[in-house]
């Protein structure tokens, strides 16, 4: 099963066009690099093998790929992008400039390299990366883990900044150099956006009782095999690194906390084991195919588990900035996230669910 996962039949074939180093540093953060080229000046190369282990090569050296490795050329930046912190407020944004750091000698896993290994399909362009960062930011704000209220005071802004910086570093491995609120009115004209939304809207359902409200929603493109493979790959590669980081982030003060911490790590370990031994999406039993709708259900559970993984990284960022005080709240959050991971990975293993109203 895992072999098939990392042979990556679903990844897009490598681009045939030549490696264009001029894109790096402006519109692209990382580009797949062909073997044998010399790494151009400010860049570094990240080589990832099939098991997700990565190593870096400095500028000036020649990319020598070992068996099974994929190489990326990464430009450290700096990059700038505009993020919209609230989906409902498109005219106010954050102007963020960030950079990909040189490797941190204290860490065994560079977070950005892990990001490349587990999430980057091939090219990491600035727009796509900005969209990912924006999603992470919006979710933290919606859950109230970061606060950016109306008429933010300077003190609140500083608290937000430290949380945001840590989030970006823990989740993506990039350091935020500067972040200022900006008026995006010129770029995202809200009246025009609303007009466009109105035009795109399907004919509203009439007031009559419709049997299936969910059917009214436009179906988004969701290919179960791709989604499932991507989510499981992320879980398989990131959970061990996450566990390692959680172990280091908290130094238990007393026996109770130690037990709690230990229990959390044990459960994460079991989730990781469950992901590592996950049955194939399309099989109910060896040689026995699974119905397409059940495959779809399984893929949805994988995707939700990956969403819980995102929350776990965000929580790790909060653990790092938090002092001793709010640890109770953070451990409760961790309990919730791990419970969600357990439920989703458990449901992913099932071949069918009996869901009764009275269960």
């Amino acid at each position: 099963m895992l072999g098939s996962l990392f042979r990556n039949p679903l990844r897009r074939p490598p681009r045939q066009d030549a490696f264009d180093a001029t894109l790096l540093g402006s519109v692209a953060i990382a580009l797949p690099a062909p073997a044998g080229i010399t790494i151009p000046a400010p860049c570094a190369a990240v080589l990832v093998d099939r098991g997700g282990r990565s190593r870096r090569l400095a500028a000036g050296s020649r990319i020598a790929v070992l068996e099974g490795e994929t190489a990326w050329c990464v430009h450290p930046g700096p990059y700038t992008c505009d993020l919209v912190p609230f989906a409902g407020a498109p005219e106010i944004g954050l102007h963020v400039s960030f950079a990909v750091d040189a490797s941190d000698p204290r860490a065994t896993h560079q977070r950005f390299d892990l990001f490349l290994a587990s999430e980057a399909g091939s090219v990491v362009d600035l727009a796509g990366f900005g969209a990912l960062a924006q999603t992470a930011l919006q979710r933290e704000l919606a859950q109230g883990n970061l606060e950016l209220p109306p008429c933010t005071t300077l003190e609140e802004w500083n608290t937000f900044r430290s949380g945001f910086n840590q989030l970006m570093y823990t989740r993506f491995g990039v350091t935020v150099d500067d972040c200022v609120p900006v008026d995006l009115g010129a770029a995202h004209d809200y009246p025009a956006l609303l007009e466009a939304r109105l035009a795109a809207q399907v004919v509203p359902v009439t007031a009559a009782v419709s049997a299936e409200p969910a059917a009214a929603m436009p179906a988004e493109a969701f290919v179960p095999a791709c989604e499932d493979a991507r989510a499981l790959r992320r879980l398989f590669l990131e959970l061990p690194c996450l566990m390692c980081a959680v172990r280091m982030a908290v130094l238990p003060a007393d026996q109770v906390r130690f037990r709690q911490h230990q229990e959390l790590l044990r459960r994460l370990d079991l989730v990781s084991l469950s992901v590592g031994t996950m049955p194939a999406l399309e099989l109910a039993a060896p040689g026995q195919p699974l119905a397409p709708e059940e495959q779809l259900r399984r893929a949805r559970h994988s995707r939700r588990a990956a969403a819980a993984l995102d929350e776990a990284w965000a929580l790790l960022a909060r653990m790092k900035v938090a002092g001793e005080g709010p640890l109770d709240v953070l451990f409760d959050e961790a309990d919730r996230i791990v419970a969600n991971l357990e439920v989703e990975t458990g449901a992913r293993r099932l071949t069918q669910v009996q869901d009764e109203v009275t269960a």
Binding site: P191, P213, E342, T358
Partner: protein, 334 residues
């Protein structure tokens, strides 16, 4: 944060005038279904209730798989009735602490799009006082309970709350709701596009002047929007609602950061076109009222002049409840 609740109930008025009570309890999940419903004698309705609650949960940012919520109705109702749906959704939210109600809730409303948080209407014709009624003219979507803009509609709207009178024991918070729609053609005098159906002519003029001033300060939004301003309660005094009105307008137009809960504001200005916020009277009673009413996630905005004179321990009390307070001199970004 507030202590967790394990039981909550929410009522709804049935077509025959009797009161239906939906009770929600919360217990550890232990491998069971996330939502369980029972309606005496009508299993089909229980199934519908489960579907409604599950769909409505899609609009929540935080997913918790650790609890099972059991919802039960205290009497049977016929299959055509759908007005209980809002009550079921709210009972499910109250018991998990997602929505915190200050007083017992009676709610009527149904929807075909709970997964979007939209409330399409209600069957109840004469809505008694204090009943939370769903529908485009009352509570159009679930986010409006805390003043959040509607995420899907082509009309952007937002609410902000303000003390109706000058505080005191019998005072209450009232809301002002600003909804804006893109204006297709260019209009030369933008205040023509602002309608305030609830108020008399004098106060309509005030509302228009306030909005025109604050939009001038923004540099945007003039001649672009068709605006409707509604008030939850029209019997308010003074002009201290100004700041709440301006904030609701800015949030509706997507030009302001957002709070998770309600925005509660008091303040006025003689120069909205410069973005200035000026002081209002009745500091102590208003603070007492706000302290009484504020809930988790709420954002309280007061004039800068009040900063030194706030009651002792008010900030800490608010923070303990999950609300935050700021004394502002100007509107806009920091």
């Amino acid at each position: 944060m507030t202590a967790p609740v394990f039981e909550a109930s929410c009522r709804s008025i049935l077509p025959d005038g009797s009161m239906l009570t939906i009770t929600a309890t919360r217990r550890p999940r232990a491998g069971r279904a996330d939502v369980k419903c029972s309606v005496p004698g009508v299993p089909a309705q229980a199934e519908r209730m489960q579907q409604v609650v599950r769909l409505a949960r899609h609009t929540e940012p935080r997913y918790d798989s650790r609890d099972q919520v059991v919802l039960s109705a205290d009497r049977a109702f016929d299959a055509a009735t759908r007005d209980w749906e809002l009550a079921a959704v709210l009972a499910d939210r109250i018991v998990r602490g997602v929505f915190q109600a200050a007083r017992p809730v009676v709610a009527n409303g149904w929807s075909d799009a709970w997964h979007l948080g939209r409330i399409d209407g209600r069957a109840l014709v004469n809505v008694p006082d204090g009943v939370l009624a769903g529908g485009p003219d009352a509570l159009p979507h679930l986010g409006a309970l805390t003043g959040q803009p509607d995420p899907v509609a082509a009309t952007a709207s937002a609410r902000a709350w303000f003390p109706l009178h000058s505080g005191g024991d019998h005072d209450d918070l009232g809301w002002v709701d600003v909804s804006v729609r893109p204006l297709a053609g260019a209009l030369d005098a933008d205040d023509d596009a602002i309608s305030v159906p609830d108020l008399d002519a004098l106060r309509q003029g005030q509302v228009r002047a306030v909005l025109a001033g604050s939009r001038h300060f923004d540099g945007r939004g003039q001649g672009q929007w068709k605006t409707t301003v509604r008030f939850g309660e029209t019997g308010f005094a003074g002009d201290s609602y100004g700041l709440a009105l301006v904030m609701a307008d800015r949030i509706a137009r997507g030009r302001e950061f957002m709070a998770r809960g309600r925005v509660i504001a008091t303040g006025t200005s003689s120069a909205w076109h410069a973005g200035k916020v000026e002081t209002v009277d009745a500091l102590a009673p208003k603070c007492a009222l706000i302290l009484r009413e504020a809930g988790p996630g709420d954002r309280i905005l007061l004039p800068k002049a009040w900063e030194g004179a706030l009651p002792q321990g008010m900030r800490e009390a608010l923070r303990a409840r999950g609300a935050s307070l700021a004394c502002v001199e100007r509107i806009g970004i920091i």
